[in-house]
């Protein structure tokens, strides 16, 4: 993977995925040689708010022994002076060994990669992709239930949820059975359905979780956002239908794990946190070793 960009899960093979996850497991177990990255600088360019992704990249680089530079908020940067993303990238690539980019426009990371000689890591491009979230999702799945004969339900906002789009492509590579559960108005976008169909993915779409809950090994819940609905009533009605509670999980397999990319609002009731199903905090913690592994694999040729 040396010096490649990480833009989308579409371009990751199963081998690439397993290489990162194996390295993450190794790092979580025995750590790394921090002296290798003493001179390495990672740039964090977040044009949208982020807590987990930004802080875990920051932590990952520092735990590897390197340092980070942070553009800070958009309000305090030269973006407010009208600088293009392309120009920002052309400048920052001269400062850092790799760039982590989050941007509100779809395709931003792809465009940035055309202007940079250092690796660009897509940390979310609008409603497009979020490949490093997928890697930590897959790490959580592999550590808990394994990839063999995997049956996963993905529920919530499938239309605009970039974590969902990235995850679906990657699950196709590991031959998982994918059940997509959402209101009709928030189905997977045409482009993702097209790719899954072309790749011969095992996919079913549902509007009711009840139809599939008992067959699942993993239930991946995402947030349905208020702004996707024209009025408050419609939002409340739909959001209520896709809310997970302890009672709802009684119909599930005992070994089912419940995941969520976080932040959650109320789509998972707090009571679920203490059940044996909950894995979303473990999932968030996995962001550090997985991003350490990814950085290590991307940068290993440069560091001595």
């Amino acid at each position: 993977m040396h010096r490649e960009h990480v833009l989308s899960t579409k371009e990751l093979s199963r081998d690439d995925i397993e290489t990162v996850l194996d390295r993450a497991a190794d790092i979580a177990h025995s750590g790394t040689d921090r002296s290798r990255y003493a001179d390495t600088i990672l740039a964090l360019l977040f044009f949208e708010p982020s807590t987990r992704t930004k802080m875990s990249f920051d932590t990952a680089m520092k735990r590897l022994g390197g340092t980070t530079i942070d553009m800070g908020s958009v309000q305090s940067s030269s973006v407010t002076k009208g600088e293009s993303l392309a120009d920002t990238i052309r400048v920052i690539e001269g400062y850092a060994d790799a760039i982590v980019l989050r941007h509100p426009s779809e395709g931003a990371a792809k465009m940035a990669s055309e202007f940079a000689d250092v690796p660009i890591i897509n940390a979310g491009d609008g409603a497009g992709q979020h490949p490093t979230q997928t890697l930590l999702d897959l790490h959580t799945i592999r550590e808990n239930v394994g990839f063999d004969d995997l049956s996963i339900g993905i529920m919530g906002d499938l239309k605009y949820g970039r974590t969902v789009h990235s995850l679906a492509h990657a699950l196709t590579k590991i031959d998982a059975r994918q059940h997509f559960i959402s209101p009709e108005s928030l189905r997977l976008p045409r482009s993702v359905r097209f790719d899954l169909h072309e790749a011969g993915a095992n996919v079913r779409e549902h509007t009711d979780l009840e139809d599939v809950l008992s067959t699942l090994d993993v239930l991946y819940v995402t947030r349905i956002q208020r702004e996707r609905f024209p009025d408050e009533n419609e939002y409340r009605e739909v959001a209520g239908q896709y809310r997970i509670t302890e009672a709802a999980l009684e119909a599930a397999n005992d070994d089912l794990i419940v995941m969520h990319p976080l932040p959650r609002v109320d789509e998972i009731a707090p009571g679920v946190d203490t059940t044996t199903h909950a894995r979303y905090f473990e999932q968030a913690h996995n962001g550090v070793p997985v991003r350490m592994a990814l950085l290590d694999l991307l940068l290993q040729g440069e560091a001595q």
């Binding site: 779809e106 395709g107 931003a108 465009m111 790719d195």
Partner: protein, 153 residues
């Protein structure tokens, strides 16, 4: 001269686009950004009987030789079209359209959130699918109404 040929008269120089699917001639003109307001001489045959297509359209444009870019885009809506370049009433070049694998800077991405719609130094680029086109940057697929998104500016 057969009855069929008589319907659309010969041109002196320009381009004849033949074997356009029946009913698509106006879309071809839209792609070429021709609406008659610039005074070009244009002849159109619509739904003319054709051995190959059943019904076909023919578009003849006087004084305009198509560029490769224009041919590429026409291929997206008329994959069987043939292009005849005419000079002094003679066909000097005859070719079938060839579907390109990508088209650059001819289609505007309809996704308002796509990076190519912003003020960035990047041209739109679409992969050509069997049925439609797909933005290389944001993955948006266009199948219907492709001509609405042709960027003729």
């Amino acid at each position: 001269m057969t009855d069929q040929e008589l319907r659309v008269s010969k041109i002196e120089s320009g381009t004849v686009i033949d074997h356009v699917p029946g009913g698509h001639a106006l879309k071809v003109l839209a792609i070429l950004d021709i609406d008659g307001s610039d005074g070009e001489t244009v002849s159109i045959g619509m739904n003319v009987p054709s051995d190959k297509l059943g019904r076909k359209d023919v578009v003849k444009v006087e004084g305009h030789e198509l560029s490769q870019n224009e041919v590429d885009v026409i291929s997206l809506i008329a994959s069987d079209a043939s292009i005849n370049i005419i000079r002094d009433f003679d066909v000097v070049e005859k070719s079938r359209v060839d579907r390109p694998t990508t088209v650059t800077d001819v289609i505007a991405c309809p996704n308002r959130n796509c990076i190519t719609t912003e003020d960035e130094p990047v041209q739109s680029k679409f992969d050509v699918l069997e049925n439609g086109v797909r933005c290389v940057y944001c993955d948006t697929i266009i199948r219907e109404d492709l001509t609405d998104h042709i960027d003729t500016a």
